[in-house]
């Protein structure tokens, strides 16, 4: 067992881990931050996407030990300080970007990473960026629409397919 310490959603967090402990397991099982979902556990689906030192990673495919000293952001830290939904989360609600919601934490974290690097993405930019995030409910259309809306762009022209 080894000790890890990291910043999670702005607060110091530490715990005892094994070498094999995944970041997703550490967040969910030890820190009880179960908003980060584990869908496939094979780094295909993207439900487990979190930010480590500002970039999106699949937390089921990163060892917790690798995040020692890192700044980690999860879905639990995305809401505004007053508890209201942030711009991306609100856009997902407004544009019906989720149905069952299982993929949503990863979608929101990927969207946040995209908009940080590319504040005004085209529709194809969004679709390409979400290549590693799988949704089995929505057909992606409303997710793309929500992210476009969150970037402040007019989504009236994006007709339902």
């Amino acid at each position: 067992m080894a000790q890890v310490t990291m910043t999670v959603n702005g607060k110091a967090a530490s715990g005892e881990i094994e070498g094999r402990t995944l970041l997703s397991s550490f967040l969910r099982d030890q820190l009880k931050l179960t908003g980060t979902h584990v869908g496939c556990d094979t780094s295909q689906c993207g439900a487990c996407v979190v930010h480590v030192d500002g970039v999106a990673v699949k937390s089921c495919t990163m060892l917790a030990a690798e995040a020692d000293g890192a700044d980690v952001a999860t879905i639990e830290g995305q809401a505004n300080a007053d508890g209201s939904l942030n711009v991306i989360q609100q856009a997902f609600q407004d544009h019906h970007g989720l149905q069952c919601g299982f993929c949503t934490p990863g979608m929101v974290m990927s969207a946040a990473a995209l908009l940080k690097d590319n504040p005004k993405p085209s529709e194809s930019d969004v679709r390409e960026y979400l290549e590693g995030n799988i949704c089995r409910c929505t057909g992606y259309h409303n997710i793309v629409k929500a992210i476009m809306a969150a970037s402040g762009q007019d989504v009236g022209a994006i007709a339902a397919e």
């Binding site: 070498g19 990673v57 060892l63 590693g132």
Partner: protein, 262 residues
């Protein structure tokens, strides 16, 4: 996943020492190794992370004009910083997905030598030099078959040096579930000839297509590939594509790469 010890040295020398222990294994970004460990297809007693070694990070241009990439540099960094070699930056920008590109490393990809990975094609077509903690290996000598390389036990890829071609392009026919190449063809045109490397197709891993290289060296146009074909006899055949289909794709993707480069 079986348990293991974890070490994160900060220098190549310390990493080499840690890898000297029995059943120790190097960990790059872990985008292949961690799924492999989950399937219990590997059971190292110790994983030695190479991510904390600052001398193995980053992209720069050497005195001879070659692009030098640290072995622990992730794909996203290569995509963003290899502007001096646009075809290579573009190749890196299309490996896996964005989150995978933020973790996976060039050294990890080349050390694993997956028969469908993108970087082996880029390194072989570019005539790259694989620099390790103990020697320099020419790409032509480095790739020795599926998941097999010239690396010795415990040897670490510290840097990869890419000569920058006059023209180059990589065309990947994506296998959509894995995002690896069903077939990928990297074409690089140098002053002294053209090199063509193909990934995803052969049971022996990445290979050069000599016949296409000769034709393209004489005439660098997609038409030069007309009439050329590869045998599917020793190619990968699986539910995603037969050997004959992959052999056909080799010529198609070569033509596309030449057309895009020219």
């Amino acid at each position: 996943m079986y348990n293991f010890e974890f070490a994160k040295p900060s220098s190549v020398a310390d990493a080499v020492a840690a890898l000297g222990e029995e059943d120790a294994q190097a960990l790059g970004g872990g985008q292949t190794l961690i799924p492999t460990l989950k399937q219990r297809l590997a059971s190292p007693t110790k994983l030695v992370s190479l991510k904390g070694i600052s001398e193995m990070q980053g992209v720069c241009t050497g005195d001879d004009g070659a692009l030098c990439i640290g072995g622990a540099t992730c794909h996203a960094t290569v995509a963003a910083e290899a502007g001096a070699y646009p075809a290579l930056a573009s190749t890196a920008a299309h490996i896996g997905d964005p989150a995978v590109r933020n973790r996976g490393t060039i050294g990890g990809s080349l050390a694993n030598n997956d028969p469908s990975a993108c970087y082996p094609a880029a390194a072989l077509a570019s005539g790259a030099t694989i620099v390790t903690n103990s020697r320099e290996i020419a790409a032509d000598d480095y790739f020795q078959g599926m998941f097999t390389t010239a690396l010795d036990e415990g040897e670490i890829i510290t840097e990869v040096r890419f000569p920058v071609p006059e023209k180059a392009n990589y065309q990947k026919f994506v296998q959509p579930a894995s995002r690896f190449a069903l077939v990928g063809v990297y074409v690089a045109k140098f002053a002294d000839g053209v090199r063509v490397a193909i990934t995803g197709a052969s049971n022996d891993g990445v290979f050069r297509w000599a016949e296409a290289e000769a034709a393209l060296s004489a005439n660098f146009s997609a038409d030069a590939i007309d009439g050329l074909s590869l045998s599917g006899d020793d190619m990968i055949s699986d539910l995603h594509g037969t050997d004959a289909y992959r052999a056909h794709l080799c010529a198609v993707m070569t033509k596309r790469a030449v057309a895009a480069a020219a």
